[in-house]
Amino acid sequence: MNVTFFIQVLINGIAIGSVYALMAVGYSLVYSIMSFSNFAHGGVIMLGAYIGYYSGALFGLPIWAAILAAMLGCGLIAITIERAAYNPLRKRNAPPLYYIISAMGTSILLENLIVATIGPNFKTYPPLFTERSIEIGKIAIGKLDLLMLVISAVSLFLLVFLIDKTKIGMAIRATAYNLRASSLMGVNPDTVIFIVFGLGGAMAGVAGVLFGMRYVVYPQIGIITNKAFVGAVFGGLGSLPGAIIGSVLLGIIEVMASAYWSSNLQNLIAFVLLIFVLIVRPSGIMGVSTEDKA
């Protein structure tokens, strides 16, 4: 196997990794504030893919408008889920693991709601390009992959910028540091949670549309987020750069394992590696380990 092959595989890995990253940042944002794994995130991504599909198919919106519509729609949906399924638990100071169950109920609900209303059929976005790939020497790159990479990079950059450089971002980081203390600093945790779910939902919207555009839309696509979840853990739960780096790394590792070892073991390797990473670095690559405080 030669250099062209390696580069081709690497590009594939980064392309997959960027999808995982878009999904993983939503997890990570919520985790950083609420300290629980939001398993309903996959459901929101799925809804994003549907919103994008219908804004294109029914209203004839161009792709950028479909993405905006999905961001808006998913942001609202994520906020609604927070209000309905998590907020009552927060008011009662329930332990994080109760949230997980509530999230799972939500995820079951969303998937089946779509099956019951829209139906189980696959939906396809209209093709964007007639010529599917550009060739550079012997390497072929899918235009969709490229577009996806660009959109992912832009949205991830905007998100990181928002968190790092703006006042809202600072409030979010303060809240992530300590939910209760932040209220002493004049930050209203309710507002922050509201914003975080909105942002996470918006990112889910982008991820959903890109996923739907590149692949296909059906009620069970939420399951792919399990991988994004692994990516977020790789990077360290609650760390935004960690989620991005971890996801891209996972994408690359997966394709490399498949390219140089065996494609039979691709998924197995991802999960075994997950356990391995946790054993070696119990808080992921970028995660902060915490010592018990007495």
Binding site: G105, N226, V233, N267, L268, I275, L278
Partner: protein, 293 residues
């Protein structure tokens, strides 16, 4: 409508199989405070072990159940050794990774049928309702006795306050390992019952959704309540069947119910309370006796 006992007993057998796994998970989650999304993995290990033991070695059914539990337990010791030091969600995720790995591994192993599945020898015992009830009854007695001992109390202490438990001399890691082992043992036995009920198993039967369903049963019934686990397992196994009249909407309702229980009764149906069936019946009996006298 005329209900068929054959149908209902079929549901009850599954409820019993789930209950066996849920009992173990209840110890882990409700009494030790550890969440696992990998117990379908232990169930599948038990199922394959039991199936192989009866089909290839011709061992009796109950021997196969025991080996299913022990083998699942053995694996849990290895996994526990590696992951029980992880905190909170990281442990949950590690178990999720374990469950998925096991499933993918079974699908990969052609010698035991791979993805196409494993068929149990037709001469093997077929799990009956009686078996399920017997195994669960034994399981319950063991579990209740365990919980009402100092070992059970130590587990509860770990659930409540890990640091304080260490300070009063509880070897937290060792107790977590025991709890993980016992829960894996129960899941393994459940897998054995499952395999011999269907007489055919395939890796696809042990997906992540199975693990989460088991955990939902524990929490639905109420953490820290064995009675709750019994109710949770039976009710939630039967619920999808009872909701059949809703057609495609039945799992929408199922999802809503799960959320509602979390919101309205965050401690689950029983929430740490045990239904004192025995004292209740005794009171009833003594009252009746009093009435006759």
């Amino acid at each position: 409508m005329n209900l068929s006992w054959y149908y209902i007993s079929g549901i009850l057998i599954f409820a019993g199989i789930n209950l066996m796994a849920v009992q173990g998970l209840s110890l882990l989650t409700g009494f030790t405070g550890l969440f696992s999304f990998g117990h379908a993995g232990f169930m599948s290990i038990g199922a394959y072990t039991a199936a192989i033991v009866t089909s290839w070695l011709g061992a009796p059914f109950y021997v196969s159940l025991l080996s299913a539990g022990l083998f699942a337990g053995l694996i849990s010791l290895i996994i526990g050794r590696l992951t029980l030091k992880l905190k909170g969600d990281y442990f949950v995720i590690a178990t999720l990774g374990f469950g998925e790995s096991v499933r993918l591994l079974f699908a990969f192993l052609e010698s035991i049928g791979g993805a196409r599945g494993f068929t149990i020898a037709t001469s093997a015992h077929h799990t009956s309702l009686f078996d399920v009830v017997l195994v669960n009854a034994i399981g319950l007695i063991v579990m209740v006795n365990l919980i009402h001992s100092k070992h059970g109390r130590n587990l509860k202490a770990i659930r409540e306050e890990e640091l304080a438990s260490r300070v009063i001399g509880i070897d937290v890691f060792k107790y977590k390992m025991s709890s993980f082992f016992i829960s894996a043992f129960y899941a393994g036995v459940a897998g054995g019952l499952f395999a011999h009920y269907l007489l055919f198993i395939q890796p696809a039967m042990f997906q992540l959704i199975k693990s989460t369903e088991l955990t939902i049963m524990v929490i639905f019934g109420g953490l820290g309540s064995i009675t709750g686990s019994v109710i949770g397992a039976i009710l939630l196994t039967a619920l999808p069947e009872m909701l059949r009249f809703l057609n495609v909407w039945r799992f929408v309702i199922y999802g809503i119910l799960v959320i509602l229980i979390m919101i309205l009764r965050p401690k689950g149906l029983m929430g740490g309370q045990e239904l004192r069936l025995i004292s209740w019946t005794r009171r009833l009996i003594s009252k009746r006796k009093g009435g006759q006298a």
